[in-house]
């Protein structure tokens, strides 16, 4: 009997996982090429390293470059943040018109490890945000991105994170503009931004 309830739970969990996977697989796929057809306004309300709640509204009038990641990520996140840092350097006197934001998808651990130390090591302009689990999920949902914790007994803390590695560009009016897929060179991001300024 106990085995049977366990089986039911496992089937429900498996079905939920399949549905969630299908949703993220088909949902954001259209964003890149059909941005005009899918206008939406992503939003976040998340704490910065000093505990102040920062929201998308306060950045109206600026372009937002948003990346979701985690600071224990050795490969993908440093690569993207380095590109963002290069873009900010190369924007020169226009740097004030863009705000790069790093949103932690591993907020509890990142707050403990130190969020500001991490983002500032790449570029002082990058704002690191780490909210509660629920706030983070809400932000990810509004950007239509996916992340999940993956068990990995070999990793520190016993887990690692799988996530959408794109960089998202939000316009001064708050509307989604486009994503830069992982590995887009800084020069390409820069020229796209400059063409919009």
């Amino acid at each position: 009997m106990r085995l049977r309830s366990l089986q039911i739970i496992l089937w429900v969990a498996a079905t939920a996982a399949v549905l969630a996977f299908a949703a993220v697989r088909w949902w954001p796929a259209t964003d890149d090429t059909q941005a005009a057809a899918s206008v939406f306004t992503p939003a976040f309300a998340l704490a910065d390293s000093e505990g102040r709640i920062r929201t998308t509204e306060e950045f109206r009038g600026k372009f937002l470059l948003v990346f979701f990641g985690f600071t224990s990520c050795p490969d993908v996140c440093p690569t993207t943040l380095s590109e963002v840092a290069q873009v900010m350097d190369d924007l020169g006197s226009d740097a004030g018109s863009a705000q790069p934001v790093f949103i932690s998808i591993d907020p509890e651990r990142d707050r403990r490890l130190g969020l500001a130390d991490y983002t500032k090591a790449f570029h002082p302009a990058i704002l690191g945000l780490a909210g509660s689990e629920a706030e983070t999920q809400a932000a990810a949902a509004s950007f239509k991105i996916f992340y999940e914790r993956e068990a990995d007994t070999a990793s520190q803390g016993g887990y690692t994170m799988a996530h959408s590695p794109g960089l998202y560009l939000i316009g001064p009016d708050g509307a989604w503009l486009r994503q830069f897929t992982y590995g887009t060179p800084a020069a390409e991001i820069l020229s796209d931004l400059q063409s919009r300024l």
């Binding site: 993220v24 490969d75 440093p78 690569t79 380095s82 799988a162």
Partner: protein
Amino acid sequence: MNHFLLAAALILSASAAMACETVTIGDLTVEHAWSKATIGAGRPGVFYVEITNTGSTDDALVGIATPAAGMPMLHETVVQDGIASMPHAMSIPVPAGQSVQLSPGGYHGMLMGLTNALKEGDSFPVTLSFEKAGEVTVNVDVLSLRAEGPDCADAGQ
């Protein structure tokens, strides 16, 4: 013993640009070993390298070891259906006549349990274990957090 001598020779010949040095073991050439500075020791470091197999037998990188980290492992960054994950790589194939790169966005060594934070300009040894060729130790240059690779005259990057 050979490996010990090789390692000793490497340490003696240590220079500022070790990432640009080439070490060979059997048919394998190992070069451009580099890492990135870390912010503190609580986050994992990374290890990148390029391996060329000039022989006619396939080989594979099956493990890495270093005094710089308690738990070094091989991983591969995989972006599939728009999701990046980082599965553990049991071994990295080094096919006959081909080069394999551990480089940003692909295969990489993940250095967990760092003994100390990695600082730009530091270097540390990493011993690579190959299925057939055996073990070889290379010195790894720690480059800046924002580095994209070592600046070697021959390093096509």
